[in-house]
């Protein structure tokens, strides 16, 4: 947990006060909607199909229980009793009234939360591995660096009106759980041959209409230089990124039009002129930020306590859940527990106020008061003693967040789609719901193994469909909802964009197509351990395409 100090609190309070004034000027008519739009966007306020939507940042996916309870309060007091966790470690409330927004923001600020820069053409919420600080394969906690960057880019006077939004992710593990290469800029912490800590810098990733994976422009950047290098990249982009066409305004287009070498050279020239200035990181500053991350005082425990083994032997449902939703922790005797927000027939990523409150209570009791939010739209309790797992499972099961399908076919990532979003061409949520109903047989889902389905309701790709093992993209054709299907995408350390298998299919056939693809996989895999993605990588899309379109 990063703990705010007076400076952080003051900045937030001043921001709420400023936004209150802006809302008042909008309501009085002093500001036109066109003038108000960039101001509200800088505070995470969108105008959607039915109402204003407020997006709140959960920096690097870490929540205290006080913060989670505040989100429950926001849901109850200002919205319709639930919130929607997004693919970028944010939460959205879709039914907020404009005149109540300043009060909602003041409530959030009281626990160090805000919607600053969760929309608009600025640097968005900095994301990272939801298991940061507890993952066994981690080099160092990436959140300290994410927080340093967060502060540097928050209300940055130079970079608040860039050509387009700018998303940064920070990773620190051999296994990429932060989808680094689909970001405008990604920083991967690693050590060079001399043992020195630094970042691999990647730029130009992004999905949307023109999907690209980020390219490495600097294999090793000393940690001292991370802020100056971020500044140089942003300055290059701010000046030279395209502003004539919103579809070509992201940094990925600049990087690919200039070529990564030429882009890197521009950045390097700029960076050389500023790297030894005020942005060179003083180790004392890094230490200070690091010291404000609170870590639990773990008990000395052994792995695999007998009460866990007994409970697993006694209850098959519990055993299934442990196999599926519990992951290794860096400390012996502890575990990371994923809380599924993907119940059968539910909306991926939604949680009710009651669930949030209950999860906060359980986190206080079992996870040192800490909760995590991941880009897969699930939550996690990051510090659970293994001996507590049976009791925790009972409680999680009772509130509906112990569906043991994490990483399986029904653990679907989906954007809000046409049910809420004014940009969408097609619905996402009902497609996800139907697929979870088709695959409700847990034995089948487990037999299928790891299989990620991602659904976006339009080409903006908020559901990251390009990097789903199966990607589903809603499009509009003659006023009707159609869906393009891609397969073979992945968002991890071997990130790859999926391949389109053929013509779009109508809404009513999407779940059938997914079933066809899955049946083909079951026939084609050489052994049960070969996951869907490996079969696609081995055989290409042809056999799947044949199966899907043979009868269509």
């Amino acid at each position: 947990m990063y703990v705010y100090d007076d400076l952080d609190r003051t900045l937030l309070t001043e921001r709420v006060c400023e936004f209150r004034g802006q809302v008042a000027r909008r309501l009085s008519g002093e500001l036109t909607e066109e003038e108000f739009k960039p101001l509200r966007l800088m505070n995470g306020v969108y105008l959607q199909l039915h109402a204003y939507m407020l997006r709140i940042a959960i920096p690097y996916g870490t929540l205290s229980t006080a913060q989670l309870r505040m989100l429950a309060h926001i849901a109850r007091r200002y919205d319709r009793g639930y919130g929607h966790f997004t693919t970028r470690q944010n939460i959205q409330f879709h039914w907020i009234k404009l005149e109540e927004l300043p009060n909602a923001m003041a409530d959030l600020a009281s626990v160090g939360m805000h919607g600053m820069q969760t929309s608009g053409n600025n640097v968005r919420n900095i994301t990272t591995d939801q298991w940061a600080g507890v993952a066994p394969d981690e080099i160092e906690d990436p959140r300290v660096w994410a927080e340093l960057i967060r502060q540097h880019v928050t209300l940055h006077p130079e970079f608040s009106f860039m050509p387009r939004k700018f998303k940064i992710a920070v990773g620190s593990s051999s296994h990429d759980r932060a989808a680094l290469r689909i970001h405008d800029m990604a920083l991967r912490l690693h050590r060079d041959d001399a043992g020195e800590l630094g970042f691999e810098v990647m730029v130009g990733g992004g999905l949307g209409r023109t999907p690209y994976l980020a390219l490495t422009i600097k294999p090793f950047l000393n940690t001292r230089d991370v802020l100056s290098y971020v500044e140089a990249v942003l300055r290059t982009y701010n000046q030279f990124g395209r502003r004539d066409n919103i579809w070509k305004a992201r940094i990925k287009i600049l990087v690919h039009e200039l070529g990564p070498e030429a882009f890197a050279k521009e950045v390097e020239t700029e960076w050389q002129s500023i790297k030894d200035g005020a942005l060179a990181l003083d180790p004392a500053v890094v230490t200070e930020i690091g010291s404000r991350f609170r870590y639990p005082t773990y008990a000395r425990l052994d792995d695999s306590p007998p009460e866990l083994a007994q409970a697993r032997a006694a209850d098959r449902r519990f055993d299934t859940w442990v196999n599926n939703s519990v992951s290794n922790h860096k400390m012996p005797g502890y575990a990371i527990v994923t809380l599924s927000l993907k119940p059968e027939g539910g909306t991926p990523g939604d949680a009710t106020a009651e669930q949030m409150d209950a999860i906060a209570d359980l986190a206080d009791r079992y996870s040192f008061g800490e909760v995590r939010v991941g880009h897969e739209q699930n939550l996690a309790l990051p510090h659970v003693a293994q001996r507590d797992l049976p009791a925790l499972w009972q409680a999680l099961d009772a509130i509906g967040v112990a569906t043991p399908t994490v990483g399986l076919v029904s653990d679907i990532i989906a954007c809000p789609g046409l049910d809420y979003c004014s940009l969408a061409n097609a619905r996402s949520i009902p497609v996800a719901q139907e697929i979870t109903r088709r695959f409700h047989d847990l034995d089948l889902a487990r037999d299928l193994g790891r299989l990620h389905i991602n659904i976006s309701g339009c080409i903006n790709a908020c559901g990251h469909h390009h990097v789903g093992h199966i990607g589903i993209l809603g499009v509009e054709k003659n006023g009707e909802e159609f869906y393009q299907i891609t397969i073979g995408g992945r968002a991890d350390e071997e990130a790859r964009l999926g391949t389109l298998i053929g013509p779009a299919v109508p809404y009513a056939e999407v779940a059938d197509v997914v079933e066809d693809i899955v049946e083909a996989y079951l026939e084609l895999r050489v052994r049960p351990e070969e996951i869907f993605l490996e079969t696609v990588e081995r055989l290409g899309v042809e056999p799947f395409k044949e199966r899907v379109y043979a009868t269509r």
């Binding site: 400023e18 960039p38 540097h152 928050t154 209300l155 970079f159 005020a278």
Partner: protein, 163 residues
């Protein structure tokens, strides 16, 4: 439009001279970039101060040779949302050491004031009268800044170090 300097609405001593108009010898002028570059030495020899209106899609490096003789650089915000001139301003101040008047012109609204100041602007052609009148109050709203820029305001990281 109102000109704001040092937090006050003030009169403008500079006049804008169009591309084809005569440049008066004895009055402070702001001239278009292309015209300055076409005849810089002659124009800058005049007794009265010279300013230039620099477009936001041209590198400020082209101005470097003339900065010590320019009294004013006006940077353009064709739209509120087009923030290229923030980078130009910081480059002029922090990389090229320009100490003359740095003026924001175009779609300049209240909500940009603090960003403009922090980027190095010290004169503002404010579009709405009500915004110009609110300048000082708007600036006073902000007391904490996370990042250092060349404007001298102390970044939070420095305050925390007790520097």
């Amino acid at each position: 439009m109102r000109l704001v300097k040092s937090g006050q609405v003030v009169g403008d001593t500079f006049i804008r001279v169009a591309d084809d108009a005569q440049i008066p010898d004895d009055r402070p002028v702001i001239i278009p970039a292309a015209r300055l570059l076409a005849d810089a030495e002659a124009i800058l020899r005049r007794a009265a101060p010279t300013g230039v209106l620099w477009p936001n899609n041209r590198k400020v490096a082209e101005l470097a040779a003339y900065l010590d003789r320019l009294a004013l650089v006006a940077l353009d915000f064709p739209k509120f949302r087009d923030g290229r001139a923030y980078s130009q301003a910081r480059l002029l101040r922090e990389t090229y050491g320009f100490r003359g008047e740095l003026r924001a012109t175009g779609d300049v609204l209240r909500d940009q004031f603090i960003f403009l100041l922090r980027a190095g602007f010290d004169a503002f052609e404010v579009k709405k009268d009500a915004d110009a009148a609110a300048f000082a109050g708007e600036i006073a709203r902000h007391t904490v800044f996370y990042q250092p820029t060349g404007d001298g305001r102390v970044a939070a990281s420095r305050t925390r170090q007790g520097v």
